[in-house]
Point group: C2
Chain length 231, copies 2
């Protein structure tokens, strides 16, 4: 009985952030016809040490082969399992400007179980358009049931949109707007901020320190949660 959906031992936050990176590397490897990969190779491409890779993967169970590394197929499968990629969930996107369109049409955003459920905007010239196979609805319409809401509006609209998403029982929000939003307890908000990446890069350039080696890959997840509304 191979892995009966074990209540996986809790993975550390840094590990969780690295697993998708390993997975992409494994997939690229597989694409080029390679059948096996070792921790040294993964580490080089991901910009971490081989030991870190081995510890991360050991947390998913022992599926490597001593002397021969990891089977690329098993590797991707185990990571998918750990991250819950077998489960499907619905995503609504609010704000269908350049960014919203880029996300919806990207081959890299709505993957691994994510399903696009509906699109919303408040611009009459955008409402009714077909984008990514969905008709853009009015923001004033009832929000479709979903697991995750993505905010791609200007900062000024972000709080209102967050309120609507929460009102529609959506408790996980990915916010691309440069605006801190307040939500009730029990709702998670992850912020994605393009400029922060640039700022971190510049800090290191200015100070000479930090990730400047070859093939450095930096992935930043800044999760913030749970402020009480009012008071």
């Amino acid at each position: 009985m191979a892995t009966p959906r074990l209540r996986s031992k809790k993975l550390s936050e840094p590990t969780i952030a690295r697993l998708p990176v390993y997975q992409r590397i494994a997939e690229g490897w597989s694409h080029r016809g390679q059948k096996r990969i070792d921790s040294q190779q993964i580490g080089e491409m991901a910009g971490v040490t081989a030991t870190t890779v081995r510890r991360d993967l050991a947390g998913l169970g022992s599926f490597g082969t001593r002397g021969a590394g990891y089977d690329v197929g098993v590797l991707t499968e185990r990571i998918a399992e750990a991250l819950g990629h077998d489960r499907h969930y619905d995503v609504v996107v609010v704000g269908i400007g350049n960014l919203g369109r880029a996300l919806v049409n990207s081959s890299n955003f709505l993957i691994r179980g994510a399903r696009l459920a509906a699109l919303y905007d408040n611009d009459p010239s955008v409402i009714g358009q077909m984008v990514g196979g969905h008709e853009v609805r009015a923001l004033s319409d009832p929000i479709s049931p979903a697991t995750v809401g993505v905010i791609c509006t200007p900062a000024s609209a972000a709080q209102d949109v967050a309120d609507r998403l929460v009102g529609a029982e959506i408790h996980a929000i990915l916010n691309f707007a440069p605006q801190v939003v307040t939500v009730p307890l029990g709702t998670a908000v992850h912020y994605v901020d393009f400029s922060i990446e640039l700022q971190i890069l510049m800090y290191h350039l200015n100070n000479g320190t930090g990730p400047l080696g070859g093939g450095v890959l930096h992935s930043l997840g800044l999760a913030s949660a749970n402020a009480l509304r009012g008071s």
Copy 2:
């Protein structure tokens, strides 16, 4: 001798990632006419503890007032100083599709010292268009001198573009393409992956743990900044 551009004591990686968040909070506060803010308030909005905020800010020098918190103006100024926002640097963007346009037109990307130097694409119907005040050039043209190169192409083009950027003496790359690229030693690649945020969010939803936890979360109020860093 008030801070004569000190060779600032090295800040920790998590701290560096949090500073831009604090800065945005401070700016929002200032926008709403508030003059002071305390570590408790910053922490709530950023999703970290007040102690963490104080320790982060103490690393920039002691500019808080006991009993009264931080002056919002001084706060933003000190963070800007620490992150090198007074210095200007040039950015080239390659791949002017939806994402490239979204970034270039965003009020949140090219800020804090970043200056748009040039845009490139290889699609004849895009070359020559004006985007964000710049004419899109052919990818085969010589790359303009710059500090940072941003890759917004499909995965298949990413490695070629990275090679061109490196050839143009650009040693800092922000890669939005879902593709690991290899570069010579001395070049930093930061990898931004939208889907990773979604995957992390889903991991926590599936496992009940973490920044979403069913009810336990208030006690954590926790955020996480994860960096994969290389040698």
